[in-house]
Every structure is written in C-alpha cells, then in structure tokens.
C-alpha cells in the first residue's frame, strides 16, 4: 500500500528531482485547513498511481528552502515533477478527479 511519504529540503534532490518516475509533491503546512482536505486525496492518488508515480509531501514550515525555491505562495500547492523539471501545478483543495486527470498527462503507460 503506497502512501505519500515525507520529503525535506535535504532529500528533495534525490527523492524528487532524480526520480525515474513522475513525482507529485504536496506542499502543505500544519495550520492550513484545506491541506487537511487534500491529504487523504493525495494518499488515494498514491495508491491509484502506485509504481507509475511517486507521491510525496513537503512541510513548508519545516522546509522553507525548497518551498521558496519553487515560489510556493498559496498552500496547499500540488506540483508535478518529471525528469527533474516542474511540469504542472494545481493550487488549492481540488477534487480527486481533477488531480488524477492532471497527473495522467505525465504518466508513461508503457512502464
């Protein structure tokens, strides 16, 4: 059972930028209400896209370096990385179908 794992400023490069599969990053903060609504959706996505997409979460309070580097402003922000590049972004609490649809564009079905 895949669930979103935590990444930090320290391992973002290895876990996200050097990933061989696309990565969904959930930028969240502890006192952000809508982040609580998005978290279970992100976990469901992790299961649905198991092995095709890596799903991780980054606490912006504890990891301000990466959050600032990618210009995170509104939280939650969900960012998709492929081959080390940011390729798409969804801001705010979105329905699962919206997120799955966005993510599907970057999944290589041959793998």
């Amino acid at each position: 059972m895949a669930a979103a794992t935590a990444v930090t400023d320290a391992n973002f490069e290895a876990e996200v930028l050097q990933s061989t599969v696309p990565v969904l990053v959930d930028f969240w903060a502890p006192w952000c209400g809508p982040c609580r609504m998005v978290a279970p959706v992100v976990d469901e996505i992790a299961q649905e896209f198991d092995k095709k997409v890596k799903v991780v979460k980054l606490n912006t309070d504890e990891n301000p370096g990466i959050a600032s580097q990618y210009g995170i402003r509104s939280i939650p922000t969900l960012m998709i990385f492929k081959g080390g590049d940011r390729v798409d972004m969804v801001v705010g609490a979105v329905p699962k179908a919206t997120l799955a649809g966005t993510l599907a564009k970057y999944v290589d079905e041959t793998k």
Binding site: G33, P34, C35, M37, S68
Partner: protein, 115 residues
Amino acid sequence: MDNATTHASEKSLDAVRKFAESYAKRTGTYFCADPGVTAVVIEGLARHKDELGSPLCPCRHYEDKEAEVAAAYWNCPCVPMRERYECHCMLFLTPDNDFRGEQQEIGLDEILNMR
C-alpha cells in the same frame, strides 16, 4: 516558536474565534462543513497573532513573515476576502460553495477538543 506542535494561547484563540464568528455573520459567509478545517485555521491565525502580533493567513508560504505583517495584505481578513469574498483558507465560504456548512459559530471547547 517555530515548533509546529506549539499551540496558540487561549486568549488569542478566543479572540480570533470571536472575530471569525462576527465576520462570517457580517459578510453572510459560512464555516466549512468540516469543523476540523475551521478549527485548524483559527488556531493558525491565533498562533500568528501570538508570534507576530497580527493574524497572518496560515495558508500561505512567506519569505519573511514580519515583512508580510507590515504589508498587511495577508492579515486576516485579507484583501482578497475584503474585496471579493475569496478565502482560499476555507474559513469563510460563500453560500454557493460546495464545501460550506450551516454554521457561523464555533465554540472554544470545540476547537480545544480537536487538538
């Protein structure tokens, strides 16, 4: 003070709670159907009030919180809320919002019990 597990003072928590109730009623907006969202946002605002002196929006990432407080744009109620009833933190939801509940009130006990 940066510890994510640090809770707001009860004084600030109650002040922000009362503000949120009166502002919802005044603007005809409602709290989220999930009271956990409301409680977390009120706690986040109260923590910023304790730390920074102003209830800076807890649903943003800032390079410099002190500078943001001075700029006032994201102090609750923020400019987008005052101008367009847009609260991306989902504290104040307009009547047509799918996520809104029926409440414009939340008890202090209710917030404390959700910690």
